[in-house]
Symmetry: D3
């Protein structure tokens, strides 16, 4: 139920709803084969499909996130992390004016995770709302392991397959081999120095900005990923709607829990 397409009297009919979905992604380099909007396109597609199925409100996507670690590559857009958090927090707090008390951040950019989690914690701690981050690939780890040999953390076959399914015309299929050969198979542990994560930018690990073997991607796999992730998201939305609010808000201090048990 995409909010931006509705009128306010139509939305008045949904005014008993307490759940809203906010899609978030980024606009940043995704190698020679994928469009810069990859992450927000995936987030929006999943969010709209799942909220349509579940009958839940979906806001427009926030298309620009925390991506400075990709800034050396042309076209990468970003806002500074404190600004991103404040923007999402302000939007979320204001959503509660309409009676929303639970929010799912449908996210498709790893660089946003910690920040969305921090915003969710702020809202949780002062009991404003229960907001939770959801990243599509975290919901279907087994399927990803099954379909790919080298999924890669960024711009790899996972995202390639998803965009093949969502907007095939935006995948430069003639550059998949370039993507694979010019990038690297990322070995996170090998990148560490005596336990410290010493790199800050993607360019330190990959000359073309991406990781994994993009030639593994197909539209069919994209369709399977999309549907499986949508199923997970619908299930999450249904689970959330079914929770009593009190169960979603913070536990009391142990001191005052005696009577509760």
């Amino acid at each position: 139920m995409y909010l931006a397409d509705r009128t306010w009297p139509e939305l008045a009919e949904t005014s008993e709803q307490s759940l809203a979905v906010v899609p978030l992604g980024s606009t940043e380099q995704h190698g020679p084969h994928l469009p810069e909007g990859t992450d927000h396109m995936i987030a929006e597609a999943l969010a709209r499909e799942a909220t349509d199925r579940a009958g839940v409100l979906c806001t427009p996507p926030i298309p620009i996130g925390v991506s400075s670690h990709h800034r050396q590559f042309h076209g990468t857009l970003w806002v500074d992390a404190p600004v991103f958090r404040d923007y999402v927090e302000s939007l979320s707090r204001n959503l509660t004016y309409h009676g929303i008390d639970r929010i799912v951040y449908v996210n498709a950019h790893g660089g946003n995770v910690a920040h969305l989690r921090e915003v969710g914690r702020r809202l949780h701690e002062d009991r404003t709302a229960y907001a939770v981050e959801w990243m599509w690939n975290e919901s279907i780890p087994d399927l990803i392991d099954e379909v790919f040999e080298t999924p890669g953390p960024h711009g790899g076959p996972k995202e390639t397959a998803m965009i093949m399914h969502i907007a095939r015309e935006l995948v430069r299929e003639d550059r998949l081999e370039d993507a694979r050969d010019g990038g690297v198979v990322f070995d996170y542990d090998a990148e560490r120095v005596h336990g410290a994560t010493t790199f800050y930018d993607a360019i330190e690990n990959s000359p073309n900005g991406v990781f994994g073997d993009q030639t593994e991607a197909t539209p069919e796999i994209g369709k399977r990923l999309f549907e499986a992730a949508t199923d997970q998201l619908v299930a999450l939305l249904e689970w959330l709607e079914a929770q009593p609010l009190e169960d979603l808000l913070p536990e009391p201090h142990v001191e005052s829990r005696a009577g509760k048990r």
Copy 2:
């Protein structure tokens, strides 16, 4: 040239460009006949059309702005004004990392104007970039006067005609008369009390949130408005590209202007 659809090597070919367009709107009530996304849809449509024609970079739209004055109506989303300014400022400053030194904020929401202007001033004063706000209806006042009797400041026939042109299926054409009859013809002067603007929220002036006579709108008028505004925007982009940067940056103190004259 929509940045989100391009890859970074493609954007590398535009790396000598110094101009970028950022579309901004809002997601807020637009009466019983228009979708909540009206403003950001208009901004994005104009920005993409004009930048395609002018060969200029266009970022994804920022779809949520400063709209708390519409919050009493269902579905209105907003961020607080300081947060909005900081988000646009951060995005703009980071754009300059890629060599951008002039930005046009293609805006379709009156509530954003003062804030975009303030952000533009910040960037101007510290010589980071020249950023200027542009609102479509300000560029074609004569045409608007020509085609409408009662254009209205919000949700009136101007915006109705534009959405009829851009996304006709999103206009509830059976509600145009309701929109007109349930709203008001806004008389700004009459709303003032001894010179003071005493209202803060749209609901104080209009029970259904909109103003003007929406039945004046037609898709044909929408097309004329869209094309005329696009022409203006293209002309602005070309003008901006042609300016020497120094002419766009602040004048020196009068003390040190002697030698300049």
Copy 3:
């Protein structure tokens, strides 16, 4: 009733008052003929006169505002816009400690308007107080049109006449023709480029910083303007005092208005 001249036991006798006036202006260049303090002098004079008549509290003036757009001219003082807003907001919130719940910002500087309006909105939205910006020339547009051919937006005959009335010795009457000839008759529309307001600083539009025909000003006109504006301000104060607080605070969400109608 100028607060700064009173003692606290005297003010205790007014403790049932709910209305206060805060005069605000600027200290910035006003051409070769007017003192830099022009705006705050006007604001203070009007505020003290009207509050004396209406029996309302008046704070000392805030003499320095948002004037960076005049900074190229000697003597212009300013604070950054976020700082100005926070200062006025803090003062206003603290005023409510004494029982004040409505405030009029008597303003005489155009550059402060949007910021005072934003502060007023903040206080309004969280129901702290009802604060409203009032600018003297906005209250008497017809009279201004009647007495001047070319009033000019800054440092023109309007302000010149007012200072002739308030502090005649501070007008350099031998420089009125210089002011007119070295400045320009400002045509706002002509300054726009394809609908965009492209200038940021006064110096871009006027070599001597002012606009309009200052030779139209006389002390007699100044007196008429002063008295007419004072009348308007007194009327506004009386209107405000007569409003029930609830009518000044935000409307509820449409959802919950059913029972209200």
Copy 4:
């Protein structure tokens, strides 16, 4: 040389000046006998007199400061400390745009001291300017000891005498005995509890808000204090003007001082 009364071309003639004075006070209760504006009136009077004598620029006074510790008494105005600091800092930084590199904060309110000192330190550490706080009574301790038995830290005979000299009509001379009898002779050490300063508000120590024996004040003493303090301020201004800027800016790290010695 009061800036607010000058025009910009007149100020252009002083453009080689590097020193400016900013008067600061407060608007807060000063007992039953003194006006709430006492502190800013004193600061302004001293600053204008001394700058006229020394030929130095003087800005308008900042009349509202950090006074929440007097808030229980009617009429006390204040801004929160961080806001006060930011306002003074912003004004000061912007002054440097005109070539000012040294500033004296002529202060007459004890509650501002630490904050002005902090602002001065910020400007000093980043080498923006040299700004120093000056409080009139700190400049003439011997004279104060000579003329008063019980000067009191707030609203006592010191300030009473000064206002008798500056604006005699604002002293309620029939309330001097009330002031003395209803207040207390403040013994700071007696107010401490085992070394801790345990009070936060003036009302905790004085029922009428003031301290000292106000009946000791006379206009003649006020004149002596005013002139002596003005002499000190003029001397400070002259001393400051005579310093090479480098001597006013921070010392380098000891490591790099070897060559300096």
Copy 5:
């Protein structure tokens, strides 16, 4: 009762306690004879001893404070003043989650005093908690006068004797004469220029960073100081525990005090 050494179930047994102690110092140069940690070592030692005696909770020390005025000397660490205040404020507010409503900041660094006082005021004004700054040497002025000729404000015999008592091995006793001879006997009044405190950094007044005659210090004097100050702190803690909370929170406005008297 040092919190960091306890487990949570042990602390559950103290959950009716409303008082906590936070030790604060600095890490900054203390001349050629004392370790940089002098201030936080003193604060921690006094706080742990007194809280053990009084049966009061003691948090770990905050070892780095506001010390930029010592930055020219090697090893001085510091955080900016606004950051320091926010850190202490955040810690203090969060302490109240466990039921704490009164806090003593046991402080041993003069540069922290104004900032701790400001934090205490913030908590006091919004009635979150009663927090009070306590500095050891302020609690025993007579004893200090008795045992030292030239105590010095920083790095003098006071602190030297204390560290001799607390951690004798950290005093470079062979450098005491150097300390005395390379520093100065500080005459605060002599450092003032016409009433203004014109210096910002310690290095402006002392080539080796310290003041006073360090050779007056002995471990025996250190022991006396330590015990006397501990006694004072224990007495303060006991006094605080005995106060009704209402007596520690702000007085109401005078208007509403009529009924109270």
Copy 6:
């Protein structure tokens, strides 16, 4: 080389050093068997041992971090995340005044990781310094897997063994079985709901606040862990000292890398 124990002239001898270590932990519940200071004790012990061996500067520990997720348990102290980041950032920036250009945050609290990483990124992006977070258990994953069956993410045998080695008297050895039986073996995947991490506080997953089988811990294992982690940290410090600064600072934009290759 513990900075707090040194004098400034001694530190002057190390003034060519460019590397500093900042130990950070938390003060928070660690179950019924471990002291609340566990994390900062571990961080300090490792940092001091490794810096002594490597001849590198070590600051005092920052003992209170981001721990609100443990707040339901007595004694947990914390500062809000933005405040924590600003404190560490301010300290780090100020360290560079002494010539430090690389910093290792020796951390022993998982809740600090993302925040230290964000601070490091800020310093990196503006080329102030290269700061990197290091967490002891991340440096020896194989050893941990070897010595423990169920290490647990918080308060488990890892931390228990470390404190047994560092401060055995602070481990309540008679509560190890309680710790194990009252906590849980944490299965992170099982705690997820359709891919979302739905919990915010430790108490949601463990009634006594800890995880893992604490009875696996012995002092001997603690010693092995401590020595192995110290070796890793020493190696990291040596690696960092050997890097040319330019290799630690950000890569340039791909556009300008052509000449670099």
